[in-house]
Assembly symmetry: C2
Homo-oligomer: 195 residues x 2
């Protein structure tokens, strides 16, 4: 099935071109014209893959999700003590450098755009991060690291709030909240729920 | 000085008209034309007070801040046990009803708009909420309610993250995170840092 292979390879090339455009111009630079230029395709050819701006945005968000997931998988497979491993995974989801900062900006723009333009179809758990928090706490529980008498369901919600609150504040005020301080807050949070 | 009194009374009328527009149409409805119509002024007269869209936005944000501050002052003066009082104050800053939901939407739109259009002049602490967290923990400390050996500075950052993380998630997914659940998370968080 050479045609299918070509199709997905072409999409990957477009994904890479799209990411370069996002890094240079921010998400506002994501247009059929800019991405066609960067990927060396004609606007018509690009429209064959992405008929409109909306589908291009969905695709950009997918690129971000794939990048973050790949990094998390990598950390998850490392030989690390459980609490340290969870800390490292959480740090993959906050803007500790320019790359992650761009990802976070895409996440915000995408999420608010989707929520606003089509609130009924909007899937608030599109990024899977809430479910990720549930799984991280289940992992700590299996490893015997969680303190007793904690409500795991509520703790997942609280961890999710700490994580996204930090990410938001790092984006808005990195002079006060730099990577080092964000790490300290996450360490303190994990220490407070773990043995 | 009747002229000054008139001026500030007129601004208050405009503030009220602006808030009605925001409630009906969201922050995207904040235009000189819409607010002139709602307040019964001519667009020219309104421009006398607010020469451009930007100053109108700054004013809308000020209206929101005044509303929230007034409610917090009211709670602060109530006869309540300290931890209960802090919980009630925190609940004034998350979208537990339609009114607070609109305030939160204005906060998000305003903050990201300002950050984007003029990043250098953007004051990330324009809303004073981070300083508010520092003061709430200092109050709990004075009342002898904070657990020992906590780093108050780091705890203010963590509380701020929990609060804004919850506010963000309530805005995006109230089916999962309703007011009752947000309250439980905040109660749990306060219980974990208080005696």
């Amino acid at each position: 099935m050479p045609k299918i292979v070509d199709h997905s390879e072409r999409k990957l090339e477009i994904a890479e071109a799209t990411w370069r455009v996002v890094k240079q111009k921010g998400i506002k630079g994501v247009s059929v014209r800019n991405i066609a230029q960067e990927s060396g395709l004609s606007p018509g050819a690009l429209r064959h893959y992405f008929p409109d701006q909306e589908q291009l945005l969905v695709f950009v968000m997918q690129v971000v999700k794939d990048r973050v997931s790949a990094r998390i998988q990598q950390v998850y497979q490392m030989e690390l003590p459980p609490v340290r491993k969870v800390l490292s995974i959480l740090l993959e989801m906050v803007p500790t450098d320019e790359e992650r900062r761009t990802e976070m900006e895409v996440w915000f723009e995408f999420t608010f755009h989707m929520k606003k333009t089509n609130p009924d179809a909007f899937d608030s758990q599109h990024d899977g991060i809430y479910q990720g928090m549930v799984r991280l706490l289940a992992y700590l529980e299996r490893e015997g690291k969680m303190r007793e008498s904690l409500d795991l369901d509520l703790e997942a919600e609280r961890l999710y709030a700490v994580l996204d609150g930090l990410a938001l504040h790092m984006l808005l005020d990195r002079a006060r909240l730099d990577s080092r301080r964000a790490r300290q807050v996450l360490e303190q949070h994990l220490a407070s729920i773990c043995r």
